[in-house]
């Protein structure tokens, strides 16, 4: 399977071209732009329906994923994330996993395992977002809201706003906290940050989805109030 990232850097989209029948790519729901009609599309949850239900009970999270399978060589699928920004391809190797923000995972080869019930996943982000662990062997495509900015972490480490985290390498220690002390707790507007230490690489996105959502909030229509009693 060949992958090519087009329309960089602001509206990046990936074109996956299959080389053999039966080759497949797994992508987050809602990301298909177009495909040759003969490509099969099947929807599922990470780990399958039952496993996901069990997972939810035990505190993990799930992602809806679409699997696109080729029926002949040369077929293509175009995938794009929801928000504007860049895309990058990473290689996962055994012993070299990658931690990815659930909203940043676009697609991956079927040889990559996504662990969503790994402990430490909760409490990182709000609203059903979580940290994915990508393990195994193969390629993953990661999207950013905005530009993707790599930071090499070493020495004193680096502090990143949680909303700006895209992915980071195995081997980094992280510690989630608030900044600015008591006043900062309520007023700094900075929310949660993550202090990374150790040696490794962190990828940040230049835009903050929560801030954007808060910005757009006043433009929403107001719900009509109920008339009198129920």
């Amino acid at each position: 399977m060949q992958t090519e990232i087009l329309q960089r850097p602001d509206f990046s989209m990936v074109r996956a071209t299959f080389e053999r029948a039966g080759e497949a790519i797994v992508a987050t729901a809602g990301t298909m732009v177009s495909r040759d009609t003969s490509v099969q599309m099947k929807t599922g949850l990470t780990g399958g329906l039952l496993a996901s239900a069990k997972r939810k009970l035990l505190g993990g999270e799930s992602l809806f994923l679409n699997t696109f399978t080729a029926s002949a060589p040369g077929e293509t699928v175009y995938l794009a994330p929801a928000a504007e920004g860049d895309l990058a391809e990473f290689r996962v190797r055994s012993g070299e996993s990658l931690f990815i923000h659930s909203g940043a995972f676009l697609a991956g080869e079927t040889t990559v395992k996504l662990d969503t019930k790994w402990g430490g996943a909760k409490g990182f982000f709000g609203a059903g977002m979580f940290l994915l662990k990508a393990e195994g062997e193969g390629r993953v495509l990661v999207n950013a809201y905005g530009a993707l900015h790599p930071v090499d972490v070493s020495g004193q480490g680096f502090i990143c706003d949680n909303e700006n985290i895209v992915a980071f390498t195995d081997g980094l220690q992280y510690d989630v906290r608030r900044i600015g002390g008591m006043k900062g707790l309520f007023f700094s507007g900075e929310g949660l940050v993550c202090h990374f230490r150790g040696r490794g690489r962190l990828w940040m996105q230049t835009r903050n989805p929560a801030r954007f959502a808060a910005w757009v909030h006043p433009f929403r229509r107001v719900k009509a109030k109920a008339q009198g009693g129920d």
Partner: protein
């Protein structure tokens, strides 16, 4: 009349230099700036016809355009006898493309129209019953005649030739060849696919011709934002 598209591909704006006799018809609300001597005349967005019934027909067509198809009710005609410049911008981030028509036709999706000049006819075409399932209905604008058409995209554009059949998420279609046949379908992918695939209505194109895709989709953006809203 001359034009320049600057700040592409992500935040493209259209600068048009008007000479005596030139008229640029633009989507209402799209003006960024102009020389004070450029005249702006607002009129109802419908083909001009003489007589009372013609005007009434025009008024109703414009209403349909506004509420069902999402095009503005009004358009602005810019002209300048002494020569002047006007700058237009669309609402979303993305490109602006120009297409010169010489008696041929092109179909645009709703919201893609920015401006036009010359002797062009703009007609609304309906996508069929299934199109109504799309949250905003499925209307296309057929542009024909001789002149210049300026249209926009949300994201970058890619022209994809159709060889056989091509399935495209309808939110990612900007424009296409009227010679193509198309069907509007539900996304497929099995029972779970209906609910969970996240892919909206798809258009299945067949025949010979090209489809212009955009690499972002407003409905997907709205779905992405929804869980992140305060």
């Amino acid at each position: 009349m001359n034009h320049e598209i600057t700040h592409g591909p992500s935040f493209a704006v259209l600068k048009v230099g008007l000479q005596r006799g030139d008229v640029l018809t633009a989507e209402a609300g799209s003006m960024v700036s102009r020389f004070p001597r450029v005249k702006m005349r607002t009129r109802i967005n419908a083909p001009r016809s003489a007589g009372f019934f013609g005007k009434l027909g025009a008024f109703l067509t414009a209403l349909v355009r506004k509420f069902i198809a999402g095009e503005s009710f009004m358009v602005n005609d810019f002209s300048c006898d002494e020569g002047g410049e006007v700058t237009l911008a669309p609402t979303f981030s993305g490109t602006i493309a120009v297409r010169k028509l010489h008696g041929d036709r092109i179909l645009l999706t709703r919201g893609a129209f920015l401006a036009c000049a010359g002797d062009l006819q703009l007609k609304m075409r309906w996508g069929g019953l299934r199109g109504l399932l799309a949250r905003e209905g499925l209307f296309f604008m057929e542009v024909s005649g001789t002149g210049e058409l300026f249209y926009t995209s949300y994201g970058g554009t890619l022209e994809v030739p159709v060889n056989g059949t091509l399935t495209v998420d309808h939110g990612h279609v900007v424009a296409f060849d009227p010679a193509l046949d198309f069907r509007i379908r539900l996304p497929g992918g099995g029972f779970l696919g209906l609910v969970a695939s996240g892919v909206g209505l798809v258009m299945e194109f067949s025949g010979r011709g090209a489809v212009v895709l955009q690499s972002r989709n407003v409905s997907t953006l709205a779905s992405w934002l929804t869980p992140r809203l305060p």
